[in-house]
Symmetry: C2
């Protein structure tokens, strides 16, 4: 194609068409002057749907959600180092979810870079730490090949965000060539020697368990996990995971507790911890006098495979080697009745379990209010749950936007705290623009409630007026209905369980984005 | 103090009290679990006023505005690497304004750092490029001294954002000691040899000019500039500058044009370019076939001092050495009449010139609509104009918030594009919370209008439907009145010059924040 003079390409065109050749079908973008030729190239590439985001943190969070649903990377378009920084927190989160992503970061034209223009910055330095791969395409001739390399690197050996820097002159000059098409890299399969060792260890252990993440949390992976459970191995997921198949027909694994002391109590007596598709568990934060590593004294850890591995296949191989023929029972369909009374997180969870359609993708950035909904939907209709893995709040609505773009025939349910939602409220506008089928539930408690809990747990003392002022969002109270409708998303506020139940049912029945401001008490 | 057993301090308390000892009086914060002890320490420090921001980009932009008005650094409180990233774009802008700032970035407890917990990241790697100084206080004993060092580094040798990383255990452990109090560093004064050389060069030049920024743009500096002008030296400011004294009684310098070709035409024939408080001028972006360095062929450049220098003093020394006794005239007070008809940027500028109270600080993130207001206020009442220096839009409202916190007896006028304002709309909430005297004018054209201009200038071709979709904000149209009021700021939308004039007069007369959605045509 590049050798055909009638098909002369710019570097930008080579980059875009090469990504499209690899199946990239979505670009979440906020362009600037240095990306104008990339924008034009996207104009000429019908295989990629471009979604404008009014803040780069929406773009990167959406690319994460898109990849979690579709399995392959989306492209983002970011405006130089400043655009990268704006998108950086959700790239951090994506790295912690092992999400493939190709971040295309515009830069000044190569001859202009030496002059330290106002928007110049050390993009490699800033973007490197949260990228699995980073290169700059400094010539039009290299843009296509580096795009293919970035795509491949985003998937292997450890999936994550790749960063491809595109100087403006590379974008505008002709001489672009398509990159060589790569086959999709496979995750690593089970290692026979490790499986053998694990079988021996399980047989010798009094209380063995396996900590799982990755493909082990797919429907197929959980079927393998159910066999391990029947063979006497406790199955536990990480506290936070990119995606888990749940609901009727799926095995219900345990989940690692969030607070370190609760996790350690739950793990008491465990003398073998196998790990598949994850890492040895550590506490989210350190607290004075509390453990960092969540492994009991005397417990042996055995890594069967990290995030580079196909943990579902590992579970299958282990179940086979253990001779585990039976499987622990899967969840029955069991929908609760209608909630009544004051609205709280439990009532919200009850309504969700009742009304959530089959196949829903849940984006959970609910912070202190997400857990009840998680627990109450274990026996709901089959669905997938996606979590905030990196701890940087403000992921929920962007992730939901991206998920909706990847699964247009499904519903997406976004659960978000009000503090979290404020970080990236611009996502609502893109949901409206794209008629994304997202039902957003904002837990409105006018508070960083989790910090009120953590203030006590860290032993930082009772908050005085200044501290209270940094934990409460009550002056002024945000009007979520007005905020949402101002950005084009119909919204309703509710403060009783009955009203929430009705609102949720209506929102799921509607087309396009909907928001429910669920007023729940802060304490 | 640290040796007094009754005054045992934590590391967090030592950090906070040391900054207060150095005159830091404001903290713009978004804390998380790892910063709980910092929050408690702020509770005990009455000299620092803490302002909660619902997104870190608001906090860092506000710290920039605070410093531009007060002259000294404010403190920010950011939650680990993710919080830094969220605040990063406005830190980039602050670096490009040479704004002193002390960014305190919480981190995991030192013993926890090796475990790569979900929120862990390479803070030094990410924050280093846009910091003039970066260190981690890994022991309680060092927190106070490093706070003093950070404060000093933010002011000297080149002012800018300093980054002090504070691990959670440093914050919570006792053993904190006050840092040694530093004297405020002085900017560099004029260099006699360079002044002599400049005098000779000016006398030999046919069309000499001086490019100024920094203290040369204060009222005192401009009085010196007026003497140079009378002595035959053209005086020109950078296109974008942190702050300029303007209006009646102040000399009006020329301003470097934004577009490279316009700048070069304006500079034609110039054979000597002196530089004081700035750098040799370069184009904001590169364009195919256009120059990067904005200096005509055959023009000699002479650096009299960069951003590390007191450019006002340099101008004074040069004027003395040139024997410049007279001064070019200052601007007279000349207020325009009321505008009429359709609303556009010129009518907005006319109203601003009419109604802006003496002493107003203007925060200009108006992108394609800011210039008319800038030009039309040259003969308005005395005021100060603050610009976006780093090109990362979304600075206007945060900067205005910070300016208002530093000058409670003044009015602040924020000019912002709608695209820019969406980046950091959370600033409105903090304005409401703090009853900040900010009048925000949002230029609503439902478009990234500057990019429509740039699309043509970069030769990227006529935008097709995909490209148009990335330049227009028209589906859905954002309701700025609803958005603003949802966050607690009273707002009104206007689309005629008469209505804007009335709304602006009322907004300046009101107490607390006000927003005007000024609907201006996109073309």
């Amino acid at each position: 194609m590049a050798n055909d003079p009638e098909q002369a390409m710019t570097g930008a065109e080579a980059l875009v068409s090469t990504l499209a050749d690899h199946g990239v079908a979505a670009c979440f973008a906020n362009p600037g002057t240095s990306e104008m030729h990339l924008v034009t190239a996207l104009d000429h590439e019908p295989r990629i749907h471009s979604v404008l985001c009014l803040f780069e943190g929406v773009a990167t969070g959406a690319a994460d959600g898109y990849a979690r649903v579709s399995g392959g990377p989306a492209m983002t378009l970011l405006h130089l180092g400043a655009g990268y920084l704006n998108g950086g927190a959700n790239i951090h989160n994506a790295r912690r979810a092992w999400t493939p992503m190709v971040n295309v970061i515009g830069d000044h034209a190569v001859p202009h870079q030496r002059y330290d223009a106002p928007l110049a910055s050390d993009i490699r330095g800033m973007a490197g730490p949260n990228s699995v791969w980073i290169k700059s395409a400094d010539k039009a001739e290299t843009a296509g090949e580096l795009a293919a390399e970035a795509w491949e690197a985003s998937l292997s050996p450890v999936p994550g965000p790749a960063a491809l820097i595109l100087p403006a002159d590379t974008a505008w000059l002709e001489g672009g060539k398509s990159g060589k098409t790569r086959a999709r890299p496979m995750l690593w399969g089970p290692d026979a020697a490790r499986i053998d060792a694990a079988v021996k260890a399980v047989k010798a252990a009094a209380k063995p368990m396996i900590l799982i993440n990755g493909t082990a949390l797919t429907e197929a992976g959980l079927a393998m996990a159910a066999r391990l459970k029947a063979a006497g191995v406790r199955v536990m997921t990480d506290t936070f995971f990119p995606r888990q198949a749940r609901g009727a027909g799926r095995f219900i694994p345990d989940r690692m507790q969030y607070f370190a002391e609760a996790a350690m109590a739950d793990l008491e007596g465990c003398d073998l911890m196998l790990v598949a598709g994850s890492q040895v568990p550590v506490a989210f934060f350190a607290y004075p006098g509390k453990p960092s590593v969540l492994v009991p004294d005397g417990c042996t850890t055995m890594m069967l495979g990290g995030p580079e591995s196909d943990s579902a296949a590992i579970l299958g191989a282990l179940a086979d080697a253990l001779g585990a023929r039976d499987a622990a029972p899967a969840a029955p369909l069991d929908l609760p009745g209608a909630p009544a009374g004051d609205l709280n997180a439990v009532a919200v969870g009850q309504s969700i379990a009742r009304h959530m359609p089959e196949g829903t993708f849940v984006s959970d950035d609910g912070v202190s209010n997400g857990l009840p909904a998680f627990l109450m939907t274990q026996r709901a209709k089959p669905h997938d749950w996606m979590m905030l893995t990196g701890g940087a709040i403000g992921q929920g609505m962007p992730l939901a936007l991206g998920a909706a773009m990847a699964a247009k025939d499904r519903k997406v349910l976004c659960l978000t705290g009000d503090g979290a939602a404020m970080y990236t409220n611009q996502a609502l506008w893109s949901m409206a623009r794209e008629s994304a089928n997202v039902v957003t539930v904002v837990f409105v408690n006018h508070s960083y409630r989790i910090l009120n809990i953590e203030m006590a747990r860290t032993g930082a003392g009772n908050p005085g007026p200044t501290a209270k002022g940094m934990l409460e969002l009550d002056r002024p109270e945000i009007d979520w209905v007005a905020l949402s409708t101002s950005l084009g998303v119909p919204a309703v506020a509710v403060d009783t369980a009955e009203a929430f139940d009705t609102a949720l049912q209506r929102a799921f029945a509607a087309e396009g984005p909907q928001l429910i401001a669920a007023h729940v008490p802060a304490r």
